[in-house]
């Protein structure tokens, strides 16, 4: 490939003098200083940027809101410390949404024995905030080994398939599980994950055969691979990375960590875009003057 776009502007002199000429050749350490300044400023004294939820995020919220009151939401928390930066805030925002809408939910994990404790702590804290009670408004089925086998059993007989909960209590004894016997008692499954191939099990064994609605939350790296399911309607909605978590936090009107980070990101992106615009304005206007 030949000379790529981008040579020239070694200095302002090359671009011609004048204000717009100078705007084309801002020394790079000023740019670095600006970026550092914006990040530090926004971390310490944030000015909130508007957050408009994307269609995919709105879909998750709407799916939660649409669950009939006699049915449960199952949140499958298949993540651990390695992807916690994204999946943690996602889980938190989803739990908040369930509590806000007054839906009962059960946590479980198919793929992350180490991660379920982290999800449990998140749910516990949110429940305390909303005054929700364990066993009545929410519960934790714990980590269940067996992937597809667990789900096939779950569809037929929930108390048997799950057995005991996170604390070792048989789930059948929990008040909220009254009347929830099989898959018909589940109104929505939300898969939060940094692991590949778990969504496919839910799709193949639960969503496909029984038509149970499914929503999901993925790390930004994983998300693009799952858009086809969103297009096809197999999934009601999807949270994409920290951005999805921030949008969800905004929807439940409880801005947290994800909103803070995305706010800094928004400002940093705006700065970079502004720099590109200024550079181009300089290029066009200084060029016009010379002609």
């Amino acid at each position: 490939m030949g000379r790529p776009p981008g040579r020239a502007d070694r200095s302002a002199q090359e671009a011609g003098g004048g204000f717009w000429g100078r705007m084309q050749g801002i020394p790079r350490y000023y740019i670095h200083l600006l970026l550092a300044g914006v990040v530090v400023w926004q971390l310490l004294a944030p000015i909130s940027m508007p957050i408009a939820p994307s269609a995919a995020t709105q879909g998750v919220y709407d799916a939660i809101a649409a669950v009939p009151d006699d049915k449960l939401i199952v949140i499958s928390a298949d993540w651990d410390a390695s992807t916690q930066a994204e999946t943690g805030p996602q889980t938190q925002a989803i739990v908040q949404a369930c509590l806000r809408e007054g839906k009962r939910f059960a946590l479980m994990s198919l793929g992350a024995p180490m991660g379920i404790r982290l999800a449990h702590e998140i749910a516990q804290e949110a429940a305390r905030e909303h005054g929700a009670e364990y066993g009545v408004d929410w519960c934790n089925w714990g980590y269940k080994y067996g992937y597809g086998n667990v789900l096939m059993a779950l569809a037929k007989d929930i108390p048997r398939a799950v057995g005991s909960d996170f604390y070792g209590t048989p789930v059948a004894e929990l008040p909220m599980m009254e009347g929830v016997t099989d898959i018909r008692g589940i109104g929505l499954v939300i898969e939060v994950t940094g692991l590949a191939a778990i969504t496919e099990i839910w799709l193949g064994l639960i969503q496909g055969p029984y038509g149970t609605p499914l929503a999901s939350a993925y790390t930004a790296v994983m998300a693009p691979g799952y858009y086809p399911y969103l297009d096809s309607g197999q999934m009601q909605g999807m949270l994409v990375g920290a951005k999805g978590a921030a949008e969800m936090e905004a929807l439940v009107e409880r801005p947290g960590k994800a909103v803070a980070v995305m706010n800094v990101q928004s400002w940093a992106h705006v700065l970079i875009i502004a720099l590109i615009v200024i550079g181009n304005a300089g290029y066009v206007l200084a060029g016009r003057r010379r002609r």
Partner: protein, 265 residues
Amino acid sequence: MGGLEHANWFMRVLFVAMGATIVTSVLLAQRGRAMFVRRIPGLTAIEEAVGRATEMGRPILFSPGLDGISIVTLQALAILAYIVRLAAERATRVIVALRASEVYPVAEEVVREACEAAGRPEAFRPQDVRFVAEEQFAYALGTVGIMAREQTATTFLFGGFYAEALILAENGRALGALQVAGCPDPVQIPFFIATCDYVVIGDEFYAASAYLTREPTLTGSLVGQDLVKAGLIALVLAGIGVATYLGQAANMDHNLLVRLLGGGG
């Protein structure tokens, strides 16, 4: 899935056909068949870049990237040989910054031989072939330090680069060096385009030694590669044809070509 742990018959046939095409065309070229290679602008720039360092009386920096001894690195070293030859003829130093210690002896030998081939064995300075650091970012910082202290006038970045690419190229640019970069992996190319004067993308990297040396073996190989690519395009078109006939739902499970390549349900 399955079928990828070992080859199936279709892969064997395909592989032998591709290999035979390339080797045949190499042998034909070695027997004197003339082969055409079109102009590749990024590679023409190498001579200009070496010339600039000569004019300014300052050294050249070459980095073969992070990979150990791999096909990418060997190709990078073939480009290095050409650059050192040009530079030695013009009494210009080339500093090679290395990340993998197993590449060190190979790079040293390449530089020494290139100096000899240029007829100037005395131009070889062992201390200019340098191991910098094994750790990715220590390598980046150390190489930037070399650029700054040696005031290199030209930077060549050819090989397997990862996140450190932008650290190297952006600092080289700040020092005013003329930079030529090439990396087969497309991921770092956008950052090279933003910071370097000339960029060699994708397969141009592998065409480089043929283009630079005009060695019949290599130009022959290039022609063979083009034939293989044409064959693969035909295969893709066939696959698309079958997919269009089957339709979206049945495609992945029933497309014969998908199954032959180890995919499908």
